[in-house]
C-alpha cells in the first residue's frame, strides 16, 4: 500500500475503500472505486444488475479480495486494519462481533434446522456469552424487537413466512450490537406490503442503535427512504455520489438522470 493512498483515507470513517479494482475475465466488476462509511449512517449503493454494486459490498466486507485497492476498517479501539490483509480468523471474529450481514435470502445466514431463538442466541454464544437463561431472554427480546411473537421462539424457521424469516435474520444480525451492517437487497424477495413494514423496522432500528449500514439495492425508492448518502454505480464505476435526496431529485450525471427518470410512480 502506498503512503499516498493511506493519507487520503478519512480519519473519522468506519470503513474506507480506495482504488478498488476487480475483473472477472475481461469484465471489470470494480473499476477504481472509492467508498466510505461513517459511524451511524446508512449508505445506499444503487445501480442496475451488473453495475458492480454487490461486488463492491463483498469487497468492502472482505468476502472477496479485489485485484487492487485497499479497504480499511477502524475498530472500536481506534486502530485501523486492512480488511484484505487481516488473518482469516481475525476477519471471522470481526464478522461475529463488530459486523453483521443481512442477505437478500435469509436462508443463506439462518440455520433452518435450529429454532428461531437458537438462531438469535447462537450469535451471542459465538461471542462467548454463556449463561443460557440470559441468552434465551435476549433472543426473546430481539424477536419482540422485530415483531415476532415470543411464543414462536422454539419454532423452526421453516414454519415462518418470507417476511418473518427476513425479520429473524435481522434479529440474528443485530443481537450482537454490530457497528456496521452489510445489507444486500434486504427487501428484495418480499411482497410489497411486507417490504414497507420491514423498511420501517430497519429504519427505526438503525436510527435507534446508531449502527452504520451499507445498503445495496436496485430500488431507488428504498435508498431514498433509508439512506442519508447514496452511491450510484454503473459498469464497475461510481458515476455519482452525495446526499440521497439531492442525487435523486437533482441528478447531475446522464446515467443517474436515466435511472431516476425510468422509475414507475404508482
Amino acid at each position: 500500500m502506498s503512503s499516498d493512498a493511506r493519507s487520503s483515507r478519512s480519519p473519522d470513517a468506519l470503513l474506507s475503500a480506495r482504488g478498488l479494482r476487480l475483473s472477472y475475465g475481461r469484465i471489470a466488476a470494480l473499476d477504481g472505486v472509492d467508498a466510505e462509511v461513517f459511524p451511524g449512517e446508512v449508505l445506499a449503493v444503487v445501480g442496475e444488475s451488473g453495475s458492480g454494486k454487490t461486488t463492491l459490498l463483498q469487497a468492502l466486507s472482505g468476502a472477496i479480495s479485489p485485484d487492487a485497492g485497499t479497504v480499511w476498517y477502524r475498530g472500536r479501539d481506534g486502530s485501523v486494519q486492512d480488511v484484505h490483509r487481516m488473518p482469516a480468523p481475525a476477519l471471522r471474529a470481526l464478522h461475529r462481533s463488530d459486523w453483521g450481514t443481512v442477505h437478500q435470502d435469509p436462508r443463506q445466514s439462518l440455520r433452518m434446522a435450529v429454532s428461531a431463538g437458537g438462531n438469535v442466541g447462537e450469535r451471542l454464544m459465538a461471542q462467548g456469552v454463556q449463561h443460557y437463561g440470559g441468552i434465551r431472554a435476549a433472543a426473546i427480546d430481539w424477536l419482540r424487537e422485530v415483531e415476532i411473537a415470543a411464543d414462536r421462539v422454539d419454532d423452526l424457521p421453516r414454519t415462518f413466512s418470507g417476511g418473518m424469516l427476513q425479520r429473524l435474520q435481522i434479529a440474528r444480525t443485530l443481537v450482537t450490537q454490530p457497528r456496521l451492517v452489510f445489507m444486500d437487497e434486504p427487501t428484495g424477495g418480499l411482497d410489497v406490503s411486507v417490504q414497507a413494514r420491514l423498511l420501517d423496522l430497519i429504519r427505526g432500528l438503525v436510527a435507534r442503535l446508531g449502527v452504520a449500514a451499507v445498503l445495496v439495492t436496485h430500488d431507488i425508492a428504498v435508498a431514498r427512504l433509508l439512506a442519508g448518502r447514496i452511491v450510484v454505480m454503473r459498469a464497475g464505476r461510481v458515476v455519482e455520489t452525495g446526499l440521497t435526496d439531492q442525487v435523486l431529485d437533482d441528478p447531475q450525471h446522464p446515467y443517474t438522470q436515466l435511472l431516476v427518470s425510468s422509475v414507475l410512480h404508482a
Partner: protein, 235 residues
C-alpha cells in the same frame, strides 16, 4: 437568537438544470439570487408560476445543488455554507437548524401518522413517549382527528396529508423553516391554524421563508415579499 439577527444569507446563488436525456439542453432558472432572512421574520417569495420560487426553496434546503454563490446558515452559533457543505453536514444542519415542509408528504408506507410526526422530535433525541404526546397535540391542533393518528397517511385526503406534513414540520422546532405552499389544499379553518403556527414560531424567533399563493394567508404572515422573476423576462 433574537429578532433582527440574520440567520440565513443567500448570496449570489444560481441554478440551472442540464437535461442529458434531452440532448443536454440547459435550463437556467436562478441567477445571482441574494436574500437575507432574520430571526423572527417571515419572507414570502412572490412571482409568477414557473419563476423558480420552489427551485429557490429547494436549493436553500440542499435538495437541489446550488451553482455558484453561498447559502450561509446560522448553525449552532456559527455561520456555515450549506452550498459548500458535505452531505453529512447538510443532514446535520437539517436535523438541528433547517426545517422544510414540502408540498407533498413522502414517507415510509404503512407507518402511522403519529409516528411520522413524532419522528421530528425523536430524531433529535427526545424520548418516544414525550415525542408522541407532542405529536398528538400538534395533530389535534391541525384538526387531524385522533382516530387517524394510528393510521398511515397514504389513504388520507390531500388536505389531511398536508396537515400531517405541517405537524411534522412545525414540531421540529427548527430556527429556520422553509414552507412550500403550506396551505394549498387546506380549508379556511385550517389555514387559520397555519397562520397561528407561523405567528407563534415567529414570536419564538423562528425565521420563515415560504411560498404562499393564498393572498389572505400571505398577508397574515409575511413581513415582506421577495420577488422571484423568470430569467428570460429579466434578461
Amino acid at each position: 437568537m433574537s429578532a433582527g439577527d440574520a440567520v440565513l444569507r443567500v448570496e449570489g446563488v444560481g441554478k440551472s438544470f442540464t437535461l442529458h436525456l434531452q440532448g443536454g439542453v440547459r435550463i437556467p432558472v436562478l441567477d445571482g439570487v441574494s436574500l437575507e432572512l432574520q430571526a423572527g421574520e417571515c419572507v414570502v417569495l412572490s412571482g409568477p408560476s414557473g419563476a423558480g420560487k420552489s427551485t429557490l426553496l429547494r436549493t436553500v434546503y440542499g435538495n437541489y445543488r446550488a451553482e455558484g454563490g453561498s447559502i450561509l446558515l446560522r448553525h449552532r452559533g456559527a455561520w456555515l455554507d450549506l452550498a459548500a457543505a458535505g452531505p453529512r453536514t447538510v443532514l446535520e444542519m437539517r436535523r438541528d437548524t433547517l426545517g422544510y415542509v414540502s408540498q407533498f408528504l413522502r414517507v415510509v408506507p404503512r407507518v402511522p401518522a403519529l409516528h411520522i410526526v413524532a419522528e421530528a422530535l425523536t430524531a433529535r433525541g427526545v424520548g418516544t413517549e414525550e415525542a408522541r404526546a407532542s405529536a398528538r397535540a400538534m395533530l389535534l391542533r391541525l384538526h387531524v382527528p385522533e382516530r387517524l393518528h394510528g393510521l398511515p397517511p397514504a389513504t388520507f385526503s390531500g388536505g389531511e396529508q398536508q396537515r400531517v406534513n405541517l405537524a411534522r414540520g412545525f414540531l421540529g422546532r427548527h430556527p429556520i423553516l422553509l414552507l412550500d405552499e403550506p396551505t394549498a389544499s387546506l380549508d379556511a379553518a385550517n389555514r387559520a391554524v397555519v397562520v397561528g403556527l407561523v405567528r407563534a414560531a415567529k414570536a419564538r424567533g423562528v425565521a420563515v421563508l415560504g411560498i404562499v399563493h393564498d393572498a389572505d394567508t400571505r398577508d397574515a404572515i409575511a413581513d415582506r415579499l421577495f420577488p422571484v422573476e423568470p430569467l428570460q423576462d429579466a434578461a
